[in-house]
């Protein structure tokens, strides 16, 4: 079995292609491992933020909502976002767990005070309390301050159902244990040398696709001021389809550079595109003619 190269080895190889690619892959693995090892509060934060965005934020930022509602809604987000920090700061093992390992003195247990109970809480317990109660109480404050935001006149059914789903997911993720990576997954990896690509991908593909993505994103800036909902949806649909078409065209142009076939001469490529070029010219000429006729008389 060949071990993965160390950082020193990677550094010694300089900025060569395969070594830097391996270093990049290792960095990505570290990021994925960190994402997989996040606690329950961090995993619950995602549906919590979704529920907050659907049901709390629109109420806090609705017309006529007081400043206190906005502050309370921000406190809810802060509770969700900072819960993983709380989870990491607290003790990982409860004091009760340590006591349980030792033999008990008698069968009866003394009733403990709240301070003792709180002292025995672990980091995940504190984080869960902070994220759940922080979000729930701040949301209750917002809804109490802006009761009209949840009326049927202002909250449509689809958004209400989506908000319910969001809160249910948040409750489920908060109550359940954190999803951990499978410990047996390492044993399923087949040890062998690193895979080698059959051919090197020429540089520049990312530039082609990047230009296509920029053009597609630029289309998304159009048509946000439309007041009629049906037309606004139509504009969004058209811009999305056009963006996909542009990205597809730039991708196919980038892929065409890697063709193994002989490169056709320019004349042949022009002849191949001639019908489309003629059609384009026809459209442009007809538009100019139509415009001139409309302006003229």
């Amino acid at each position: 079995m060949k071990d993965a190269p160390s950082d020193a080895e990677l550094g010694a190889s300089g900025a060569s292609g395969p070594a830097s690619a391996r270093a990049r892959a290792r960095k990505q693995n570290v990021v994925f491992a960190k994402m997989a090892s996040i606690g329950a509060s961090a995993q619950a934060a995602i549906p919590g933020l979704y529920a907050w965005a659907i049901t709390v934020a629109p109420a806090a930022w609705s017309r006529g909502a007081p400043m206190l509602a906005k502050v309370a809604s921000i406190v809810g987000v802060v509770a969700l976002v900072t819960a993983p920090l709380v989870e990491g700061a607290g003790p990982a093992v409860s004091a009760d767990a340590n006591e349980a390992r030792e033999p008990k003195e008698g069968a009866s247990r003394k009733k403990r005070s709240f301070a003792e109970t709180a002292r025995s809480w672990t980091g995940p317990t504190w984080a869960r309390a902070w994220s759940v109660w922080g979000l729930v109480l701040s949301s209750v404050i917002v809804w109490a301050l802006v009761p009209t935001a949840l009326s049927s006149a202002r909250l449509d059914a689809v958004r209400g159902v989506l908000g319910m789903v969001g809160w249910a997911l948040f409750a489920f993720a908060s109550a359940g244990p954190a999803l951990r990576p499978d410990p047996d997954s390492a044993s399923r990896i087949v040890a062998s040398t690193s895979l080698k690509p059959r051919s090197a991908v020429p540089r520049g593909d990312a530039l082609y696709v990047g230009i296509g993505v920029v053009m597609a994103l630029a289309m998304q800036t159009v048509g946000w001021e439309v007041a009629v909902p049906e037309r606004a949806v139509l504009v969004r649909l058209v811009t999305v389809v056009c963006g996909i078409a542009v990205i597809g065209a730039t991708t196919s142009i980038a892929l065409a550079r890697h063709g193994t076939r002989a490169r056709a001469p320019s004349r042949m490529r022009l002849r191949r595109a001639l019908p489309w070029l003629l059609m384009l010219a026809l459209f442009v000429v007809s538009a100019v003619t139509f415009g001139t006729l409309r302006i003229g008389p």
Partner: protein, 58 residues
């Protein structure tokens, strides 16, 4: 880079511009103008893709 490649790039960029103009026309409720720009965009995109293809085959 040959002239044909430059023309292909210009056609793809022009197609994107035509699509954007079509979306603007659509948002202003000018449906005929929008359809015109969208069709021009499709044709320009197709022409640009055909020009950029380097292979000998059709």
């Amino acid at each position: 880079m040959q002239f044909v490649d430059v023309l292909a790039a210009a056609l793809v960029v022009g197609a994107a511009a035509a699509f954007a103009l079509g979306a603007v026309a659509l948002s202003h409720a000018s449906d005929v103008e929008a359809i015109y720009y969208l069709v021009v965009g499709i044709v320009a995109l197709r022409a640009g893709t055909q020009l950029a293809r380097p292979g000998v085959g059709a």
